[in-house]
Symmetry: C2
Subunit: 305 residues, 2 copies
């Protein structure tokens, strides 16, 4: 499948109906994953907090993990060494384990395995990995899912906004800094990683209101500010919208505003995620770079063995 | 107090003996704080995980917060609006509240208040804010604290390594990217914020092994890589040290290595934190910028009211 087709599959992924079967009694949730699989945990932890949700992107699990923990291992390939290591530790601590994977060693674990379709790059399978968590814990309506499908479909047909953003970043070879506030901070991080993985450029994410406490002065006084392209995802909260405006005022800087489309969190979240997918994809094309190329990561993995 | 004197006070701050009096029974810890006060929660969450520790840098607390939560509000001034808002929500949920502050509204809360000395910039009071948590939950030996004191004192007397790093960043006006792995990821974030607040430049942090999953390709293929200065804090784990080496190999890039000094986590953590303090301070001096200037943040706060 070519990379454009992978991107276009997201609208169908959100119809994926799998869910975690009753996981028993638990008091906290730990989600382990790296890169394109790991961002799923970050997104979920930001939109669901009825239990403490701790996201791990490392070889080890926190000390508190025990039989009261629902441990969710997410690895698209099923062979990510960090995630397998964390999962083994969680097993030793008698946590309830759920694996979300398309195959590999993780699919052979003696636990509930949610086996998602193979054949994509992990970063293009976000819907397959996220929806089982959303279905289980947030239970969206069929109407919400179909409306989200439609929003993504429309973007597949027309993403001129994404092309415009990509072109503005490209023409002066700038580095995107994506600024967002709750519940879209992890979306800003997803944009950063998509710029990294698809367009192969350095990119950064930052969040309101925290950034006001440290990045306000540099946004006016740093050197070479013209090398950065600041994107601000429109905040849900009026109080933080004012912060975005006042920050631009006192730093005499303009952020490119990106506004979520949709009526519900699910719709807006996936709209924003997919927009970032297309901006990074279009930027790769402008740079004449293959967005699907992961050769250096493969080389790194070989040399680590 | 001038800013150099503030920095030099850190070695004495680590002798601060306050601790949380028996907080009763709790099942999770939520730490709220912003900027220079907020980084304290991030550092603590990384070195202590016998309970789920969730760090909040926003107006609101997670849904799970209830009477089983130990809620620790950290605001040096005691008047940070986000922290006060989060603290009010935690009170409404009947959490056990502890405040760490030098005064303001937070000091007048009807809860356990750890009242730390006033008169510093929040970012220069990290020891006062962190040590009550360390004393309560990690109980370091007197010898460990005195050894840490000595390491910091030696750096106050000679920080030629910091001057060298600052000079390398300054001479080509580069943007620091500080890379670290557990248990020093929050230290990399602290360096980023100190570059922001003291030297008034944009700066970034990133962490191993996660960065291998997204930043490997851009570290070789991004444009304008010479505008960044990559600093890698030496990993504790052999497996991640190898990752740092192989990443440099496959991307044909060199990271400046920074090695923690000390025998214990406490010593190494404070050594690294203090080194970042000095690098950012020296860079401010090279830029002919007042490291203590927070005028734009004050202006922003006025305009938000």
């Amino acid at each position: 499948m070519d990379f454009a087709a992978e991107l276009k599959s997201l609208k169908d992924q959100i119809r994926y109906r799998s869910r975690i079967v009753t996981p028993g009694v638990f008091k906290n949730i730990v989600i382990s994953g790296m890169g394109g699989s790991g961002v799923v945990g970050r997104i979920f932890a930001e939109i669901y907090s009825k239990f403490p949700v701790v996201v791990v992107h490392d070889y080890h699990v926190p000390d508190f993990v025990d039989s009261n923990t629902l441990f969710i291992a997410i690895s698209y390939s099923g062979n990510t060494e960090e995630t397998l290591s964390a999962c083994e530790e969680a097993e030793e601590r008698n946590a309830s384990i759920v694996a979300i994977t398309s195959g590999g060693s993780l699919a052979r674990k003696n636990c509930q395995v949610i086996r998602i379709p193979p054949g994509l790059q992990p970063r293009s399978a976000l819907g397959y990995m996220l929806m089982p968590l959303v279905n289980t814990f947030l239970n969206p309506s069929q109407e919400d899912i179909e409306r989200t499908h439609l929003i993504l479909k429309e973007m597949d047909e027309n993403h001129s906004l994404a092309s415009k953003l990509a072109s503005e970043i490209f023409k002066q070879e700038r580095f995107p800094v994506v600024m967002a506030s709750s519940p879209y901070r992890s979306v800003a991080y997803r944009w950063k990683t998509q710029f990294n993985e698809n367009a192969k450029i350095l990119a950064f994410s930052s969040d309101f209101p925290e950034l006001n406490h440290n990045e306000t002065m540099p946004l006016k006084l740093s050197y070479s500010l013209d090398r950065f392209y600041f994107i601000a995802i429109k905040p849900e909260s009026q109080r933080i919208r004012k912060r975005v405006d006042v920050t631009q005022l006192v730093t005499e800087r303009t952020f490119t505003a990106v506004e979520p489309i949709g009526d519900t969190l699910l719709q807006k979240l996936f709209y924003l995620i997919h927009l970032g997918d297309y901006v990074s994809y279009e930027l790769a094309l402008l740079r004449n770079i293959d967005p699907s190329d992961v050769s250096l990561i493969e080389e790194l993995k070989r040399k680590l063995q």
